[in-house]
């Protein structure tokens, strides 16, 4: 059947009361659990997967899982903005400006624009998925190790733009993140690195422990030390939604974020993180007031949030068309489908068109549901900040501790969490932006692994990174970017020789 017939039939399936209910339930549960600091989409789906076993037909089951996935992503942004607690890698960038906005009393607009941006990005991306899925999927396949390396390196480079005033210090933090990712058993050689005899270190650190420790706990520690009781300013309900000015500023950021997220999100592995980084960097570069970034620029929330939502939707493409799960959460959905006897892959559209189109249609529906759910809730979330810090802080610590503990059921992770909290506190006190750390941590294995795989493939030649067209393009892009930075810095230094700001 052609695309239009397919989509219409899909809507017929998605809009049945039963499936609508499943979509709603999924979105609700996903948001509720995603809001809990430390539980990202993959963990949420893992927890809730067994519930879908009792649902006989695959269509409602997958619809529910997709709802959970989106819901969890929305929920993750909420904690990033309100509490500086990233739910998963793709939300880290949202913390940077989102939390600053919350501190300035603009939590409502931040949450609002995140919801709106995510909705637009999600919807546009599903349209893209509908129209262009097969050729895009083939494109995704052409990303082999050299391309992944170049892309991850590009992402890392973009992460430098998060480093605030001092690039040198930002780079130090980034390298630290890379080193932390090297702790544990090296997958390519099988050797255990930097474990110093401590067994628990052999599995390496978990992203959640690091991100939540450095960002969340570090922030709490810093707040505790301030004189007087900490009042996170709240505003009256009236100012809870974004103002027209906010919307005007964010419109294009959302559009750009969507495009960036869609294309980068298709690539299996790391797509959402890299797309949020690229979006942030692009917004900062294009902006007429780049100094606002890091202090609460709404574009710094709108862009990355749209990017990571577009990437989430796009990550369904390799699953539905090729049968390749792009990340851990999608892998769970993949497993769910297989258990129900549906094999995602090139034949899915032929063998089970109801699943294929039903899922796509329910993604539209899911996006709408989420925005209906979340916009009114923005007011509620903001009230959460009214809870006295004396209760909020320890409760957050408890949640993050339990979240960290349940990763491996070992007390060691609690100590690790505290240690990272200390690190976060130290960075905060030294006015060093911690953003690059968890991002480098996530990208580290991708960079190192892909590099070594590429060298194995090429027999030791570094030429492989430029001899292949896609990789060459990416390398070209970031050479231009670096050159641009250098030229810019030189010009700035020449113009004002007295003020020697750290470059």
């Amino acid at each position: 059947m052609n695309i239009f017939d397919g989509i219409i039939s899909g809507f017929f399936i998605a809009l049945t009361p039963g499936n609508l209910l499943f979509a709603f339930l999924g979105a609700l549960i996903g948001t509720a659990v995603g809001v809990l600091p430390g539980l990202g989409p993959a963990a949420t789906i893992a927890l809730l997967l067994p519930i879908t076993y009792s649902i006989p037909s695959p269509v409602p089951a997958v619809i529910m899982m997709a709802g959970i996935y989106y819901g969890a992503m929305y929920g993750g942004s909420t904690t990033s903005i309100l509490l500086n607690l990233p739910g998963e890698a793709a939300s880290v960038v949202t913390c940077i400006d989102g939390y600053k906005m919350a501190q300035k009393g603009r939590a409502g607009p931040a949450l609002g624009i995140a919801a709106i941006g995510s909705f637009i990005a999600g919807t546009v991306s599903v349209v893209g998925l509908t129209l262009f899925a097969p050729p895009i999927a083939e494109f995704a396949l052409s990303f082999g190790p050299p391309e992944k390396f170049s892309l991850a390196l590009l992402g890392l480079l973009m992460a430098v733009t998060l480093s605030g005033d001092s690039i040198t210090k930002g780079l130090v933090v980034m390298v630290l993140g890379l080193l932390l990712s090297a702790v544990g058993i090296d997958p390519i050689s099988g050797k255990s690195r930097f474990d110093f005899g401590v067994t628990e270190l052999q599995s390496g650190f978990d992203f959640v422990t690091i991100a939540v420790g450095v960002f969340g706990l570090g922030e709490i520690a810093y707040n505790l030390e301030r004189e007087g009781s900490v009042e996170i300013i709240t505003t009256k309900v009236g100012q809870v939604f974004p103002k027209m000015a906010d919307w005007a500023k964010s419109r294009l950021a959302i559009l750009r974020g969507t495009l960036i997220g869609f294309f980068i999100g298709i690539i299996p592995g790391g797509g959402a993180v890299i797309s949020s980084l690229v979006s942030y960097a692009v917004e900062k570069k294009i902006s007429r007031h780049p100094e606002e970034f890091g202090q609460g620029a709404i574009e710094g929330v709108a862009g990355p949030e749209s990017a990571n939502n577009a990437a989430s939707s796009a990550s369904f493409i390799p699953l539905l068309t090729l049968g390749i799960p792009g990340n851990a959460a999608i892998a769970m959905i993949f497993a769910c489908l297989l258990i129900k006897g549906v094999k995602p892959g090139p034949f899915l559209i032929v063998e089970h068109p109801d699943v294929f189109w039903g899922v796509i249609a329910s993604m539209y529906v899911g996006n709408i549901m989420l925005i209906i759910l979340n916009l009114p809730l923005v007011g509620v979330w903001v009230q959460l900040l009214r809870v006295p810090y004396g209760i909020l802080a320890p409760v957050v610590i408890l949640f993050t501790a339990i979240g960290s503990y349940s990763i491996a059921n070992q007390a060691f992770d609690l100590y690790a969490l505290i240690a990272f909290g200390v690190l976060g506190y130290v960075l905060r006190r030294l006015k060093i932006e911690a953003g690059p750390l968890p991002l480098a941590f996530i990208l580290g294995p991708m960079i190192e692994g892909s590099m070594r795989q590429s060298l194995l493939m090429s027999g030791g030649s570094f030429l492989i990174f430029v001899s292949r067209p896609i990789s060459f393009t990416i390398v070209g892009l970031f050479t231009l970017f670096v050159l641009g930075q250098v030229v810019f810095a030189v010009r700035r230094a020449r113009r004002s020789p007295k003020i020697e700001t750290a470059v």
Binding site: T168, L179, F194, E227, P394, A401, I418, V422, E500, V503
Partner: protein, 165 residues
Amino acid sequence: MSRGENIANLVTIALGVFVAYHSYHSLKLGILISPGAGFMPFLCGVALMVLGIFWRIQAFLLKPSRHADRFHDAQVVEGTAETSAGLRPRVKLCLAFVTTLAYAFLFERIGFLLSTLVFMLGWQMLVERERWLKSIIITALCAAAMYTLFRYLLRVELPSNPLFS
């Protein structure tokens, strides 16, 4: 360079040296066709050393100009300046740290519920200096809520009290 930054800088350089050495010696750099486990960490170690030195140089260059100092100070947004406003905030932070550490220590030893109670109670009384009645109420409610959430709603496996089982 403030004292804190100075220490951080030295730690960075020292860490760089250590990592580079360890990577070279124990982890092996491998050959180009197949970089060993130590390859990337070695590069990171070297990067840390270089960056640390660069950092120091930049800080040194920043000093002479008084204009730059004022500019730098004006940029301090939330006051890293040592608060002369008394010991209380520092003590509070230390107590919070100790309480959290105690939680980590007790978590597996006396079980989730008890350690959460101890933590919350400790926090209310030591860190927040609340009255004991209010502390107990807050503690009980929070602990009950969290327990219900994690044990029954989410079915997460958490350590129970070994004294009872």
